[in-house]
Symmetry: C2
Subunit: 177 residues, 2 copies
DNA sequence: TCGATCTATATCGAAGCTATATAGGTCCGG
DNA sequence: CCGGACCTATATAGCTTCGATATAGATCGA
């Protein structure tokens, strides 16, 4: 699931500029579980153009760089669907927080507490953001994905509030040894 | 949280070769939520050696490449702890499955069902793997992380079994339009 | 006994991310 | 009403990381 494929998918829902594609990851239905940086989106769009999977039109703007609006072509749409018919790559969840918890015994107790606080706040923020969005206007797939996200964040919050004491106490005990 | 930091962390728990570090991600307590490839581990260990954060000893083996066993130095231990005291990078969860679900309406119903089946099987496998491991022999941090993993996988499985019908039906309805 | 899988290191090319450059616009607070 | 922060918008250089591949003998099951 490379950045080119992700861009193609987003363009099946409508034309967009590189900038708009990036924003979609942050703001709307595509958030969580997919992401890409400008440094990969712009080259991806150029290459998709060369390959004939998308077309571009430049909209001149006064005193600003031209908006380059990308549209998916029929070939691009076919290629995207074909890529969804192949076996999907596995999920990758990389969590510095979880890794750090493995080393709680090396850290001052206050730092472990701080990490937990920060992470919990982060998860609450993501959950709130998902709930903010109007579920009424979402497509079937988007509703499903939003529900998936809610389930994951809620489970994490529940686990952390139920079990944070264990690691904080354990950690205090180990540090005292 | 780059590969160098991850390697340092693992070496705080004991000496290891590059190969063994990689195995730890697959088999044991470090699994899920962290990972690195050989292509990044070996260069990381070389650079850590140059920087004085780890030391190496070569154990000659008959008719095999030498085992290069890495040990963390006091400087390495300090650097690792310092990196845990700085703000942690955010989690990154990239899920081709979740992305694909956003486009269920473009796919044949059988494919959507197949994706769900595959993903559910994958999550069950990860959950089973976590439960296989003897929780008795784990450190406090490892127990906490294993519990975290179980909570996440269980929530995903629960959500998918409860809601898969929605997206499969919705998808069938849209395809029929 | 033959192929598959495991131990073990290593590198190359491709992919992706971070930080930065550019450049004007908007919006809010002081 | 001015300044700073943030937004739109594209783009690239450099570093990091990944995936695939090379090497090579050991072990183990069919």
């Amino acid at each position: 699931m490379d950045v080119r494929t992700i861009c193609l998918g987003i363009l099946t829902r409508g034309d967009a500029t590189g900038y708009e594609i990036k924003k979609l990851f942050e703001d709307d239905g595509y958030q969580h579980f997919v992401e890409a940086s400008f440094g990969s989106i712009y080259p991806a769009l150029n290459r998709l153009t060369d390959e004939g999977y998308v077309s571009v039109r430049s909209e001149a703007q006064e005193k600003r760089p031209d908006r380059k609006v990308y549209s998916i072509t029929p070939a691009g749409r076919s290629a995207f669907i074909a890529s969804l018919l192949k076996p999907l790559p596995e999920d990758r969840h990389r969590s510095p927080f979880v890794f750090a918890m493995l080393f709680a015994d090396l850290l001052p107790q206050s730092r472990v507490g701080g990490m937990l606080d920060d992470y919990i706040a982060q998860m609450q923020g993501k959950l709130a953001h998902l709930n903010d969005h109007d579920t009424a206007c979402l497509s079937g797939g988007e509703k499903f994905v939003a529900g998936f996200g809610r389930a994951v964040y809620a489970a994490i919050l529940e686990f952390l509030t139920a079990h944070r004491a264990e690691i904080e106490e354990q950690q205090a005990a180990q540090a005292a040894e």
